[in-house]
Amino acid sequence: MIIKNKSKQWRFIPLSSIWFQDLPEDISLDGYRIDNVIHYTDLIISIYFGIVVAALLYFIIRYRASLGNKAVYDKGDKKKNIIITACLGLLVFLSVDAVIEAMSFKDLREAFWNFPDNEKVVRIEVMPQQFAWNFRYPGPDKVFGNEDDIIPAQNQMHIPINRPVVIQLASWDVIHSFYLPNFRIKQDATPGMITALWFQATKTGVFDIACAELCGNSHYKMLGYLTVEKEEDFEQWLIDNSPEDLGMADEWDEWDNDEQEDAGIPEDWGWAWKELK
């Protein structure tokens, strides 16, 4: 398809950019589980839809009136018909629904709802506001809500590679949703309640954090950056951002701080980590 663009030039939109898109790169420990259930569903519904379409096409071509067919007076309400229909319905349920249900429940039990609780866990509190992400790290004492908490610049989240990250969320104002496409996860942040999720990164790099729940006119700009880095870099980053250290990095942070004030970074965090069952 050829179309005129902004600069009034004709250009070509590639045909390959229709019908199919790959899932984004998966860089998480458990993302493959979601990819698997999605791919199984892809396969099985393609088969069933293929059968339906094949039957549909065959019937409408084979039994069209212009061929001089005679309709058969068949109400399909004999016991035999009903049993066959019911069995096919059950077959669909067992081959599609039961399988994806089993896969999903297993993944929830083993991964998504099985929160890790060990030394290696990195705990982070996330508090979204219109239209930015605030993060809080517990600092050296591993306890939230005291002086040594680390609150880095807005929209900047750093995590170490190959360590489980547990996140608790609560919203500052309206409902937001913490969405990491490359980790296949998403969790709403709602005012007045604390929600949680966990994940583990398997690759370093910088990835997008998006807000998936409509939160106002700049919802589309509520973009954060998740930096996955090596253990040492992460520790260094924590030190660079710890409250005592901020004075030393004046030159850099002055500009940053101005921006933070404009955006209204919450002075008073207002909630702290809660042990969830």
Partner: protein, 569 residues
């Protein structure tokens, strides 16, 4: 039999108590909003396909201050109003308003609705709701912009949506709910009480089954959303805090999640309210144009009823990412997946109806067969969203948008179009032009598949919903071409709908009156000549046969037998 006086213009055409006139009033209202909502969709697609470029033709005239570019505020208002209008002001009046009114008394052999005056008030309540809704466009701050789901706190002033638009939206929806409620009570009473002699429940056409079941759902769940909306209205106006919590609440906190529960307890049955009449209509039309009884009629009717019962137990699948308890998540997933059993049963019955039939590809039949395709895809892709883990990824992405456009936009619109093409001869005495109809069908069918399938592909790649400019995100940049393709086909889809409008106008002006039963159908409405008088039947008909007596071997000279024809067996 009741006597009906000939009334003056006002009493006959405007404040009419005749169900057929009221049905037509709903149709014009629905069509107006269908095109209005469609225009909004075109503008939304422009912004997504060509982000922040001036809208051609109307941009400079609509938004001179922004150089013809849609700004984020306007964009949010557009998709909010698009969703609201399409669901409550286009589909609901087109299917339930129009065909509920027009078909129920005619097909069950009743002189009119059980409560004709209530019926008239129902339409005018809807009209008032429409005026209220549209009035928000004249506010300086514009219309509502918190999405059709309108979750608080965003939809309350505390959450930062400025202005009256959101309040007006809530009030309009409460009026709309009142109108729907009146209709539902009327339809249920009429079907239960006014069926003519011999019209058992299992002799009702499946269209009536669909409309009847939809009305039952409406009568149960509209009050739920009405209660929620009144609470929301109080939050918006007098400062209560039902749905506010955290920093936005001053006293004891309310609960934003409560609204989501209330909304989806109604909202999920709502999608079945919209699709049930389509299932019924499609089942009937497939039978008419295959010249063959609807396969497994009773199974279809019972499957539809089962889905009605299940549909009220599955709302939680809209809320998997809210942090609900694992036990609830699993239960909702299981209950949701159960729906696939009755759904696949009636779906198979549709194919069974075509099997060994004598298929005529009239325009209504094309649309009915189209529904098999689009509803098949829409239904199957629901599986991803029902699965807790897959939904963690796909929730609130364009995948969901593509999925529900297949079920609601494509299936329901095709069902409505099929119904309009099919019953137009009974409503207006004229047959819509089949050539324009064919172009309308094929154009819509092809372009809608490009639009909605590719939306699902976008969601697959992670594209989240309701974002003004996808190019803000690194992971969405490669999708720009796909977004552009979707927009091009969306514009085509829009253009093909204009043909439909032209067809209606052309036919009403220029076509000649057609035969009273042009499709050789068997249901009661085809026994009466156009124009059908107020009061419908001269003599109350007596029913001997089921609704789909086609190609009966003991009927010799033709292949159909009317429901009120008695033959010796």
């Amino acid at each position: 039999m009741m006597e009906y006086k000939k009334n003056n213009f006002w009493k006959y055409y405007i404040f009419s108590e005749d169900h057929k006139i009221i049905g037509k009033q709903f149709m014009w209202l629905g069509l107006f909003f269908l095109f209005f909502g469609g225009l909004l969709a075109m503008l939304i697609r422009w912004q997504l396909g060509y982000p922040e470029q001036p809208v051609p033709l109307i941009g400079n005239w609509m938004w001179p201050g922004d150089g013809g570019i849609i700004n984020p505020d306007i964009y949010n208002q557009m998709f909010t109003m698009h969703g609201t209008i399409m669901i409550f002001w286009a589909i609901t009046p087109l299917l339930i308003g129009t065909f509920g009114n027009f078909l129920i008394p005619l097909q069950i052999g009743a002189p009119d609705m059980a409560f004709p005056k209530l019926n008239m008030i129902s339409f005018w309540m809807m009209f008032i709701a429409s005026v209220i809704l549209l009035s928000s466009y004249f506010l300086p701050s514009g219309s509502a912009s918190a999405g059709w789901t309108s979750y608080p706190p965003l939809s309350s002033p505390a959450g930062g949506i400025p202005g009256l638009g959101q309040t007006i939206w809530t009030i309009a929806l409460i009026f709309m709910g009142a109108s729907t409620m009146m209709g539902a009570i009327n339809y249920i009473t009429t079907v239960v009480e006014l069926r003519t002699t011999g019209m058992d429940f299992f002799k009702l056409p499946l269209s009536i089954w669909g409309l009847f079941l939809a009305s039952i759902l409406n009568s149960i769940f509209v009050p739920v959303i009405a209660a929620g909306l009144v609470m929301l209205l109080l939050d918006q106006t007098i400062g209560t805090e039902f749905f506010l919590a955290g920093r936005l609440a001053s006293g004891d906190p309310g609960d934003p999640l409560l609204f989501q529960h209330v909304f989806w307890i109604f909202g999920h049955p709502e999608v079945y309210i919209l699709i049930l009449p389509v299932w019924g209509i499609v089942s009937d039309l497939l039978s008419v144009f295959s010249r063959k009884p609807a396969y497994g009629y009773r199974v279809t009717a019972i499957a539809m009823s089962t889905i009605v019962a299940l549909s009220s137990l599955v709302w939680g699948h809209h809320m998997y990412t809210t942090g609900m308890s694992p036990l609830l998540g699993k239960s909702f997933m299981f209950l949701t997946l159960l729906i696939s059993i009755p759904s696949s049963m009636f779906f198979l019955n549709w194919l069974g109806t075509l099997w060994k039939g004598k298929i005529y590809f009239t325009i209504p039949m094309l649309f009915a067969v189209g529904v098999i395709w689009v509803f098949g895809l829409g239904g199957l892709t629901g599986l991803y969203n029902a699965t807790v883990t897959a939904d963690i990824y796909l929730h609130d992405t364009m995948f969901v948008v593509g999925h529900f456009h297949y079920t609601l936009a494509a299936s329901v619109m095709f069902g409505s179009f099929a119904a309009i093409y099919f019953w137009f001869p009974k409503m207006f005495g004229k047959m819509l032009n089949p050539i324009l109809g064919k172009i309308h069908f094929w154009g819509s069918f092809i372009s809608l598949n490009f639009v909605f399938f590719n939306m699902m592909a976008l969601g697959y790649a992670g594209h989240h919903r309701r974002i003004y400019n996808p190019l803000e995100y690194t992971f969405l940049k490669p999708l720009a071409n796909m977004n552009e393709w979707i927009s091009i086909f969306a514009f085509l889809l829009g253009i093909f709908q204009v043909l439909f409008l032209i067809n209606i106008i052309w036919t009403l002006w220029f076509s000649k009156q057609c035969k009273p039963n042009p499709w050789n159908a068997t249901t009661l409405e085809w026994t009466i000549d156009y124009p059908i008088p107020h009061g419908n039947f001269e003599v109350s008909p007596i029913i001997y046969n089921g609704p789909h007596e086609y190609s009966r071997p003991d009927v010799k000279d033709r292949d159909w037998l009317m429901q009120n024809e008695y033959i010796q067996t």
